[in-house]
């Protein structure tokens, strides 16, 4: 935990400096008759962020916060496993949307999650993974007219569009 606190503070400080540099692409000073330039607001806020991160680092050196004294592991074996499996499957879900669309990615994600991570029986797994895309389709595509991405599966939906849209 102690090391993670420092690493995070340093990374966030670097991000703050990046934000300041990026804001400085616009005018960060006072423009005559126009008031503060477009970059001033984010620039000075990012500067405050940087100060806060330095403050956190100072606290770390002084061991003033609970995290900077904690000997606990930031990510233990369980947390790493969880992050890889759960977080990884969420990233895979979003990545798959680009290729096979929401209606291809969602059932695969649900099947994996329920069967492999949840160790549920085949019946509840198939029922839930099968119902989810149908509910989503009628809610978003049909009722709200928000057409969710379909990827390469788009042609399969033409008959459904003809009926419902």
């Amino acid at each position: 935990m102690r090391r993670a606190e420092l690493v995070t503070a340093v990374l966030l400080a670097a991000f703050s400096i990046y934000l300041m540099w990026k804001s400085a692409e616009l005018n960060i000073g006072w423009v005559k008759h126009e008031g503060p330039g477009g970059g001033a607001w984010p620039f000075w806020l990012a500067a405050i962020m940087l100060i806060c991160n330095i403050w956190t680092i100072v606290n770390w050196v002084r061991r003033a916060t609970p995290q900077s004294r904690s000997q606990d592991q930031f990510m233990d074996a369980h947390a790493i496993r969880m992050l890889l499996l759960v977080g990884g499957s969420v990233v895979a879900l979003v990545a798959m949307v680009h290729v096979i669309g929401v209606y291809g990615a969602v059932p695969i994600f649900m099947l994996f999650y329920l069967r492999v991570l949840g160790r549920h029986g085949w019946v509840p797994t198939l029922v839930i993974s099968g119902t989810a895309p149908v509910v989503i389709f009628f809610f978003f595509d049909v009722a709200m007219r928000i057409v969710l991405p379909k990827g390469y599966l788009e042609p399969l939906f033409y008959p459904l569009y003809d009926i419902f849209l």
Binding site: M1, A4, T8, L19, K22, S23, E25, L26, W30, E34, G35, P36, G38, G39, W41, P42, L45, I48, M49, C52, N53, W55, T56, N59, T65, P66, Q67, F74, H78, A79, M82, L83, V86, G87, V90, V91, L93, V94, V97, H98, V102, V106, F109, M110, Y113, L114, G118, R119, H120, I128, A132, I136, F139, F140, A143, M144, I146, V147, L148, P149
Partner: protein, 505 residues
Amino acid sequence: MDIIQHLLGGFLIAFEPLNLGLVVVGVTVGLFIGAMPGLGSVNGVAILLPLTFLVPPTSAIIFLAAIYYGAMYGGAISSIMLGIPGASTAVATTFDGRPLALKGLADKALIAAAVASFFGGTISIILFTGFAPALASVALDFGDQEIFALMLLAFATFVGLGGDDIAKTVFSICIGLVFSAVGMDIISGTPRLVFFDIIGFLHGINFLVLAIGVYGIGEMLWTIDSTRGNPMMSKVEVSASRTVSHLKDVLKEWKPAWIGSLLGFFVGILPAAGATPGALMAYGISKMTSKTPENYGKGDVGGVIAPEAANNAASTGAMLPMLTLGIPGSPTTAILLGGMVIWGLVPGPMMFIEQSDFVWGLTASLYAANFFAVIINILFIPVFLYVLKMPFTVLAPIIFVLCLVGGYAPTEDMHDVWLMVIFGFGAYALRKLDYPLAPAVLAIVLGPIAEPALRQSLIISGGDATVFFTRPIAGPITMIAIVLLLLPLVQVYRKKRKQAKNAEV
């Protein structure tokens, strides 16, 4: 008498079949969301907000307010049954709710929570109805200077009263404000902070992307990490005769109910403070004033009533500054505020004049939501107990999928979905290190209001920042904000002096 007339008009809107139906559905959904460990009103509202584009704005906010309300009721259920708070607002409910459940009196605790929530909610809506128009009419005179001073106050309360690490709180506020600045600079019309020239940043970062990232994905990862396996359920018997006898016992406890309701309402009004500290304070004061404080923590019904009355009262209290001043009193109301902006409603004092139907319809539907919540809550207790047995591995993928479609719906851009996932992972890591994230969500909503207010004030005054101190209303607000910002420093100083004194002795 004006108020009563407006309120009657509001009831006509609230009792339109669509709105009434949405209140009932919203309360029920909210109860379940609140009862789920790891999900609270803010998660429910953030994830479900994109679904409300289907109905007119008034109905949409009525639905979301009903979820908000229901979740406040529901939070108590898992606090009592599982011993883990369903939402942070129900933390104080576990102190006495859990011991009651272990004694086999879970049904008594659940009924106490439901009745107390109803009481707290009702008292605070009555206060809300009285205060809101008065506050709005004062706020009508507000200019840019006052608006910015109020924003400063909102952020200052997070620093002064939030109780988290100050450096991390200020960081969280600033990062939210910077994210809100991404996209177009509204005054000069030039693009800014377009990271790596990715086109998706040109339309800015939608507050929902951050809200769903933090409260949907981040929260789920954190919950899966921290609960490690399924928590234990308490056994409970439910029968009509037991219910009636418990109800009689509960109704005798009027003192903690009043303490919770009044304290909750006023703490709820303060930005940042909100329902969680309100409930904790109500618990503390109720214990202090109780005749039998030694029973608290061992299963005293008063210890369930006070925090539950307070968290419902606070959720109504938080709506007061949101509707009248345009400043949300809690993360959930911040998301509601963001939603209202999407629907083309401008929260603030003008709304009481231009959108009075909306304001009074919402107020009246809060009465209705409260009424239905208590009934549905008591009737559904057996159902909740069954659903709570549902494994988290079923709930989690459903929520992830809801996050995916919820993140996509507002802008219909996959760029935002990726951003949401990144925010989710970031939020999970920061949460582990105790960075408070509510200020960031509040800031991304308030940023687009605060920045033009500041810049226009400075343009009007020709760069003279003293306007924030010299204007009659802005001045005191700014001063209070500065005092709140300095409050933690004073506390640190006093603690040091105390330690020094102890060292001498």
